[in-house]
Amino acid sequence: MTTQIGPGEGPPPRPPAPPAPPALQEPPPPRVNYLNVAYGVKSWLLTTDHKRIALLYLAGVTLMFFLGGSFAVLIRLELVTPAGDLVQSETYNKLFTMHGIIMVFFFLIPSIPAVLGNFLIPIMIGARDLAFPRLNLLSWYIYMLGAAFTIFTLVRGGVDTGWTFYTPYSTTYSNTHVVAAGLGIFITGFSSILTGLNFIVTIHRMRAPGLTWFRLPLFVWAHYATSLIFVLGTPVIAITLLTVVLERTLHLGIYDPRLGGDPILFQHLFWFYSHPAVYIMILPAMGVVSELVTCFSRKRIFGYEVVAMSSLAIAIIGFLVWGHHMFVSGQSTYAGLVFSLLSYLVAIPSAIKVFNWTATLYKGSVSYDTPMLYAIGFVGLFTIGGLTGLFLAALGLDVHVTDTYFVVAHFHYIMVGGAIMGYLGGIHFWWPKITGRLYPEMWARVAAVIVFAGFNLTFFPQFILGYLGMPRRYHAYPEEFQVLNVMSSAGASILGLGYLLPMVYLVWSMRYGPKASANPWQAKGLEWQTASPPITENFERQPVVTEEAYEYAPEEGAAVV
C-alpha cells in the first residue's frame, strides 16, 4: 500500500505484471520481534502489546473451544441410540447447556475479534497499538475471570438451563448452579465491552496518514460494526442475567408469574442481545472472508462501499429482529408480523455480501491455498445457513420448525459453518504473520476438506430431522429419528478430526515450519508491509497510505462495468 506505482508504467494488458516481484528484494527480517523481545511468564502476563494479548486470547479461546467441543462429542454419542442410555437426563441437559454457554460466550464471540482483530487492527491501520493498551490487557483478565467462573460452575456440577436461561425455569425451578454460570457470562461481557470500545476509538483516532474511511480494509469495517454491537448490546445481557440472579437469590418478582413477574419479558431482553450476538459472531468472519477472497483472486473487492456499508446495515437492523425467536411464545400476532418483516430486511445485506464475493472471483487470478479453501467453504455454508434463515423468519412455517433440530442445523450452519470456517481461514492466512512460520500446506488443505465434509454430514441431516418434528434438547427420541441421528454423529466424528488436525500441524509449525517472508501471499494491506513476525512497534517508520484497499494492479487498467 505504501509503495507508489511509478507514473511511467502505463496500463498493462492482462495478465503481464510489471511491478517487480517484491519477494526478491525483501530486506532481512529484524532480529528482534514482538515474540523474542522478552522472555518469561511475566513478560506475557504483564504485556500491553496488542499482539501478545492476541496470543493470550488465542490460548484462552482454544482451551474453551476444545472444552465446549468435548461436550458436543458426548452429546452426539448419546444421540446415536434413541434411548437415553449413555448419560442420565440431568447430565445430558448439563452437557448441551455447557456446550452452548462455552461455545457462544467464550469461543464464538471473542474468537475473531479478540484474537485476529486484536492482532491485526492496529497493524492494518498503521498504528503502534490499540488506543488503550492497558484496557486491552484488562479485558483479557476479565475474560479469563469469566472463564474461571464457568469452569468453576462446571466443576461444582454444572448448570442445566440451556444457554438461553429461560425463566421461570432458571429463576425458580432449576437446582443447578445458575448464579455462578450467570455471573461468569456477566463478567466476561465486560471484556467484550472494553474490546469494542478500544476498537472504536482506535479506528476513529489512529489511522495512518492517508488511510481514509473508504480505504480501510473490510476486515476493519466489519470489526467496527461488531464493536458497535459489543458496546450497545452487551450491557443488556449483563443486566438481564443480573436480574435472573436477583430473582433467584432475593425472589424479586421480575420473571416468575408466581412472584408477579412476566416470563416473556425475559425472552425479549435476552434476545435483544442474543440475536445481535449472532452478528457479533458472523460479521468478523465476513471481514476475514473479504480479505481472503481479494488476496487469493488478486483483485479489488467487487463493490467495496456496498460491502462495507452492508456490515453497518447488518449491525443496525440486527438490533430490531429479536422477536423472531418468539413467534410461538404468545407475543401478539402483529408483533410477530413486524419482526418477521424486519428479519427479511436483515437478510438482504448478507445476500449482497455473498454476491459481491462471488463477483470478485470473476476475471481474477484464483489460487487454492488453504485460506481460500476456507473462504469458499464459508461462502457455501453461510449461503445455506442464510437461506434456511428465510424458512425460520416465515411466520406460518416457523410455528412448525421452531425449537426443532431445524433451528439447531440452521444456527450451526451460521456459527460453525460460517464463523468457525472464517476463523480457521483467518488463522491460516495470518499464521505466517503471527508466528513467522509457514504451516504444511498439504496437511492444511486436507484438514480444510475434512472440516467441510464432516460439517455437512453432521448438520445437513438435522434439517430433515427438524422438519420431521424432532424437538431440540431431547435426551431420548422416538426410534424413527435414529438413522438421521446416526448420520449426524458419524459426521461429527469426521468434523472432530478436522478440528484436531490444525491443532497438531500448527503447533508443529511453530518450531519446525519453514520461516515465512514478510508477505508470503503477495497480499495487499499494511500488515504485509512489515516483518513476519512484526516488531513490537509494528512498523520501523510511520506508514503513509496512498492507494485504495486491495489495489492488486494499477488503477489505470481498471475496468468499468
Partner: protein, 325 residues
C-alpha cells in the same frame, strides 16, 4: 414407522398442506440460489484459476446495476415469502367459530387435558376427525410447548397466562405430541399421543369413560366450595358483579377501559382480581393464586363460560340465572 428415509412428517390437519406448500416453495428458492452461487463460485474458481505466479488481473470496481439487481430481486422474493408466511400464520391464529374446546395444562413432565364434557387425560388427547378443536393452554410451573408435528402446530404453554391454538384433524390415526420448550430433567419424556378418531368412534369414546360431571359442573362445585357464591350472587345484591351473561361480552372497567370477558380475563380476575376491576365495584376480592390449581381455574372458567349465554352485554344485564347451554 415408514420405510426408507421420509422427508416429511405425516400430514393430518388442514394446516399441514399449507405449511408444506410454503416449505416446498422455500426449498425451491434455496436450491435455486444455492446452486446459482455454487455454480458461479466453482466456475469462476476454475476458469480464472491462477496460471502464473505474477499474474495481475485488471481490477473491477463494481457495478451499480448489478448491486441494484441483487438487492431488489432478493428483496422481492423475500417479500413474497413474508406475505405467504404471514397469511398462514394468521390462519393459524384465527380460531373458527364453534370449535370444540379443550383445556390443556402443562406440568413437569406431563400434559393434562380436560374435555368440556369432563373427560380428563394425561399425555393423551382424543379428538374427532373433521371438527375444529381449540386448545386453551397454560402451565403450572415453567414454559412448555404443545407440539404436534403431524398438525404442523406448536404453541407455548406459559405459566400465568392462557394461550390458544387450534387445529382440524383430517385423518384418523395416532400422532406424536411433544413438549418443544426445554423444561428440565425429563423434557424429552414429556411426550404423548394425539388419537384422532372418526366422529362416531369419538362419540363412543366420549360416552364410554366413567365421567359423570362435565367441566362446567366441576367448576360450579368449586365455585361453591371456594365460597365465590357469597359475593358473586345471581341476584345482583352481592359485593361482586354477578357473572351470568358476562362471558364472551365486553365489560366496562373502573379505569374506563373496556375488555372482552374471555378465558384470559376470567383467569386473571381470579388470581389477580385487582388488576382489572369492573366498573361500579370496589377492589375487595382477595387473590386466589395458589389456592386453586390451574386445572381448577380452567373448570371455573368453563363454569363461568357456561353462564355466558347469549344475554346482552354488561354485568347485571341478564334477568334470569343459570342458563345451561
Amino acid at each position: 414407522m415408514g420405510s426408507g428415509l421420509p422427508l416429511f412428517p405425516e400430514a393430518a390437519s388442514t394446516m399441514a398442506g399449507r405449511v408444506d406448500a410454503l416449505y416446498l416453495f422455500l426449498v425451491l428458492v434455496s436450491v435455486f440460489f444455492g446452486l446459482l452461487i455454487a455454480t458461479l463460485v466453482v466456475t469462476f474458481a476454475i476458469r480464472f484459476r491462477r496460471r502464473s505466479r505474477d499474474e495481475r488481473p485488471r481490477p473491477i470496481h463494481g457495478s451499480a446495476v448489478l448491486e441494484l439487481a441483487w438487492t431488489l430481486i432478493p428483496f422481492g422474493i423475500v417479500m413474497v415469502i413474508f406475505l405467504w408466511g404471514a397469511e398462514v400464520f394468521f390462519a393459524m391464529a384465527r380460531v373458527p367459530p364453534g370449535a370444540m374446546e379443550i383445556y390443556v395444562v402443562g406440568k413437569r413432565w406431563m400434559w393434562k387435558t380436560q374435555h368440556m364434557t369432563g373427560q380428563r387425560e394425561i399425555n393423551e388427547l382424543h379428538v374427532p376427525v373433521g371438527m375444529p378443536v381449540k386448545l386453551t393452554l397454560t402451565s403450572e410451573d415453567v414454559i412448555h410447548s404443545f407440539f404436534v408435528p403431524a398438525f404442523r402446530m406448536k404453541k407455548d404453554a406459559v405459566p400465568g397466562r392462557y394461550s390458544t391454538e387450534w387445529f382440524q384433524a383430517t385423518r384418523a390415526g395416532t400422532y406424536h405430541l411433544f413438549c418443544a420448550e426445554y423444561c428440565g430433567t425429563k423434557h424429552s419424556g414429556m411426550i404423548g399421543n394425539i388419537t384422532v378418531m372418526e366422529p362416531a368412534a369419538f362419540q363412543a369414546w366420549l360416552s364410554g369413560g366413567a365421567t359423570g360431571t362435565s367441566l362446567a359442573a366441576a367448576g360450579e362445585k368449586l365455585f361453591q366450595d371456594l365460597a365465590c357464591i357469597t359475593c358473586h350472587r345471581s341476584d345482583s345484591e352481592g359485593r361482586g358483579p354477578r357473572l351470568e351473561g358476562v362471558f364472551g361480552h365486553p365489560v366496562s372497567l373502573a379505569s374506563g377501559e373496556r375488555v372482552m370477558a374471555d378465558e384470559a380475563y376470567v383467569r386473571e380476575s381470579i388470581v389477580n382480581p385487582a388488576a382489572r376491576v369492573v366498573a361500579g365495584y370496589q377492589p375487595v376480592m382477595p387473590t386466589y393464586q395458589g389456592l386453586v390449581s390451574e386445572e381448577g381455574l380452567m373448570q371455573l372458567v368453563a363454569y363461568i363460560q357456561s353462564l355466558g349465554g347469549p344475554a346482552t352485554a354488561g354485568p347485571g344485564a341478564a334477568s334470569e340465572g343459570r342458563g345451561q347451554p
